[in-house]
């Protein structure tokens, strides 16, 4: 969990004649992260690489053009594709790619005709044919738009029409006067218009283009229907073929990463330690026993694969945002997986909003939103994280007795200021850790802040403990104490020192012994830190303080969300009370708009702030995230069986 998968380095040498079966086996295994082999000359791709790549390009073109959604659940047997590969690709090309190309071509033509019609419309009202605008030896022709009609003092012929805020004109003058006229036109804000080629009157041409567009539309309609039918029909095959071809191309190009001599080939790679024996056995079998396989630690740090239980895996996405852990680093995914939903729930803490998020998830609305926002790839993880977070929101919502800013159940506390949604149902009030539940956030602001700071102190302590482990793994215990232990002492020294001080604000007597002990620990920690980092270490002290205070955002985001909901409810209630039917209508609109806004904020803010508390306040204490991704050779089969 807190560690990534242990990896082992493998070197394989085998005779060239078994290269292909070995590569195919590697691809099927989908376990070995290949490294480039630099000690021997590079190998050459297998001969089918070219054809396969061509096929792949065609299939991918069809996928891209059609914007297909991937099939779910259906799988096409791989041998079917392998057997009829050429005919399948040909069919996809003819039925899908070609049709799509034709559609694109017709659409482009349609756009061009529309543009021409637009241009011709400008000339439509002048009693001239298109050929009248060109071909003169002694005349200059100006056609274009002007802001106002210019004064022309020489002999001329002018047609004009109102056009936008100004005019559209066609002006014929003798060539020797053209410079003078051009100057006058420029002053009138002249913008030249290029008269379209062709003959006949503009109206005739517009009619002809319109006719052609109609024909194109008819043809497009047929083609699009055909394309839609075909893309539905071939969707599974297209995805399966793409997957199969990607795998085949990887196989065909694998020798580029191998070292090859006259009779033998060699490659290196990494794999999870637990699968090493299995991989060895399979490679040996593929090489018919003619391979030499050696395991070791490798020269470079291994690529990193996560090793988390299924429930935590969705959160790996957020660890990756900061970078993969280094092989010797603590993998913080578990902390994120536990911390993020709790922070989220604590901040939003409202049964109503929790239910709305769940409804969005189950109705598929969230899928559409995530697709729209461009999160298609990471959608499953984000949805899972939101789902877990919405459950914690429900739990905290129950503890806070909140429902869209109202109180959900009746309590003995009833202040009368806040509306109770279910006055008939009584909240099962209880005491836990000396706290009375329901815990009303708006009435317990200072205790909530204190709680949030304690959460912060423990959260950061965990960060320092991880930091200690990381440094100890790489540089030993002494360095760990100097670098991380010192700051842990500073943090806790500060806590021990300030705790009695803050309590004294609430009328408790100040325990001076604690203050002095805390100060002593803080100074000792600071001295160690200065020894490790130099005098600059002192500069970190204020940031440590601001880190702790930063956790107060857990309360403030929560209060903001309650406050907003409360404000919208108050507005709506006022309107409903005073305004009759119209009042109810407006109240309904205010409620709908207000709570929609609050839901959006309620999803965004706790996620971002929760992540930030992890990334900035905690991860900075221990995390580098400089690990390489483990990318096993081969293709994960999703659409082929």
């Amino acid at each position: 969990m807190l560690r990534t998968k242990p990896m082992v380095h493998m070197t394989v040498v085998a005779p060239k004649k078994v290269m292909k079966p070995v590569v195919e086996e590697l691809e099927r295994l989908h376990l070995v992260h290949l490294e480039d082999f630099k000690d021997l000359p590079m190998g050459e791709p297998f001969e089918e690489a070219g054809t396969l790549s061509d096929h792949l390009v065609k299939v991918r073109t069809s996928m891209k053009g059609l914007k297909l959604t991937p099939p779910e659940g259906t799988k096409v047997p791989e041998d079917e594709i392998e057997k009829d590969l050429d005919s399948i690709v040909k069919e996809i090309e003819v039925r899908v790619v070609k049709v799509h190309e034709e559609v694109t071509r017709l659409e482009a033509q349609r756009r061009e005709y529309l543009k021409k019609i637009d241009e011709l419309r400008c000339l439509e009202h002048f009693p001239l044919s298109l050929e009248d605008y060109r071909g003169y030896r002694t005349l200059s022709v100006f056609v274009g738009s002007v802001e106002h009609i210019p004064r022309i003092d020489v002999r001329h012929e002018m047609f004009y029409e109102k056009y936008g805020r100004g005019y559209f004109l066609a002006l014929f003058v003798e060539k020797e006067n053209s410079d003078e006229v051009a100057e006058a036109l420029v002053k009138a804000g002249f913008r030249e218009f290029k008269v379209p080629e062709g003959s006949g009157t503009p109206s005739e041409m517009i009619r002809s283009y319109s006719g052609q567009i109609e024909e194109i539309d008819k043809r497009l309609k047929d083609l699009q229907a055909e394309l839609e039918k075909n893309s539905r029909r071939y969707r599974d095959v297209i995805f399966a073929a793409e997957e199969y071809l990607t795998a085949r191309v990887e196989v065909a190009e694998a020798p580029l990463r191998f070292g090859v001599s006259r009779h033998a080939f060699a490659f290196r790679g990494w794999m999870p330690k637990e699968r090493a024996d299995y991989v060895k056995e399979r490679i040996m079998k593929a090489a018919r026993g003619m391979a030499y396989i050696e395991f070791g630690d490798g020269d470079e740090p291994p690529p990193v694969a996560y090793d988390n239980p299924k429930v935590f895996r969705a959160f790996q996405l957020f660890t990756d945002l900061m970078g993969r852990p280094d092989p010797r680093e603590v993998d913080p995914t578990m902390v994120l997986a536990l911390g993020l939903p709790v922070f989220f729930g604590f901040m939003l803490g409202d049964i109503g909003y929790g239910l709305v998020i769940l409804a969005m998830l189950y109705s598929g609305l969230m899928d559409r939103i995530l697709d729209y926002l461009g999160f298609t790839g990471s959608k499953p993880s984000i949805k899972k994280v939101l789902k877990i977070s919405s459950y914690t929101t429900l739990i905290f919502g129950f503890l806070f007795n909140e429902f869209f800013g109202f109180e959900l159940f009746a309590t003995s506390h009833a202040s009368g200021e806040i509306v109770v949604v279910l006055p008939g149902v009584h909240y099962p009030e209880f005491e836990l850790f000396g706290t009375h539940f329901p815990y009303l956030r708006l009435e317990n602001v200072m205790p909530s802040i204190a709680l949030s700071l304690w959460i912060g102190i423990f959260h950061m302590t965990l960060g320092y403990v991880f930091g200690f482990v990381n440094v100890q793994r790489t540089h030993g215990v002494k360095h760990a104490v100097l670098e991380k232990g010192s700051w842990l002492m500073v943090l806790w020294g500060g806590v021990i020192m300030l705790y009695p001080v803050t309590r004294s604000w609430f009328g408790h007597e100040m325990n001076m012994a604690m203050v002095w002990t805390g100060l002593a620990i803080l100074i000792a920690g600071m001295l160690i830190a200065v020894k490790a980092e130099g005098a600059a270490g002192i500069l970190h002290l204020p940031s440590l303080f601001s880190n702790v205070v930063s956790y107060a955002r857990l309360v403030s985001v929560g209060l903001a969300s309650v406050g907003l909901a409360f404000a919208f409810n108050a507005m709506a209630l006022d309107m409903a009370e005073g305004g009759g039917a119209l009042g109810y209508l407006i109240a309904g609109l205010v409620l709908a708009a207000g709570h929609t806004l609050n839901t959006v904020l309620g999803i965004m803010e706790p996620t971002i702030q929760g992540l930030r508390l992890h990334y900035v306040e905690q991860f900075m204490k221990f995390y580098d995230g400089m690990g390489r991704y483990y990318i096993p050779f081969g293709v994960e089969r999703r659409y082929t069986a």
């Binding site: 945002l321 602001v445 205070v549 107060a552 955002r553 971002i608 990334y615 900075m620």
Partner: protein, 110 residues
């Protein structure tokens, strides 16, 4: 980036006016003193969080685009970018804590 100097001066002047305007009417009875004190505390609480937010906003308005640009080039920069964006938030968080302390700690003791 340029800010309207006139706007800032106006904002400052209004704040000062608001503060001064509430003082002269005071000093008549203990009850009124208390009311004015509470009012000033509330204004202080508002200023603490409001000015903090303005400062954070100005800083983030310049960091935000830079981080977006960096993330567009290399999506791996997202996490680090978020961290950099988060730094000026300290100002508003401190303001908020002060504000909440004024509202809920000091006020309750008056």
């Amino acid at each position: 980036m340029r800010y309207s100097k006139r706007g800032l001066v106006l904002l400052g002047a209004l704040t000062v006016l608001l503060l001064i305007g509430s003082i002269p009417a005071a000093a008549q009875s203990g009850e009124e003193d208390k009311a004015i004190g509470i009012g000033l505390l509330a204004v202080g609480a508002g200023l603490a969080v409001g000015l903090g937010a303005v400062g954070t906003g100005i800083a983030q308005s310049q960091i935000g685009p830079a981080v977006l640009a960096a993330t567009a080039e290399d999506p791996k920069m997202f996490g680090k970018g978020l961290m950099v964006i988060a730094i000026p938030e300290t100002a508003v968080i401190f303001g908020m804590v002060i504000s909440l302390m004024l509202m809920f700690l000091t006020l309750s003791q008056i």
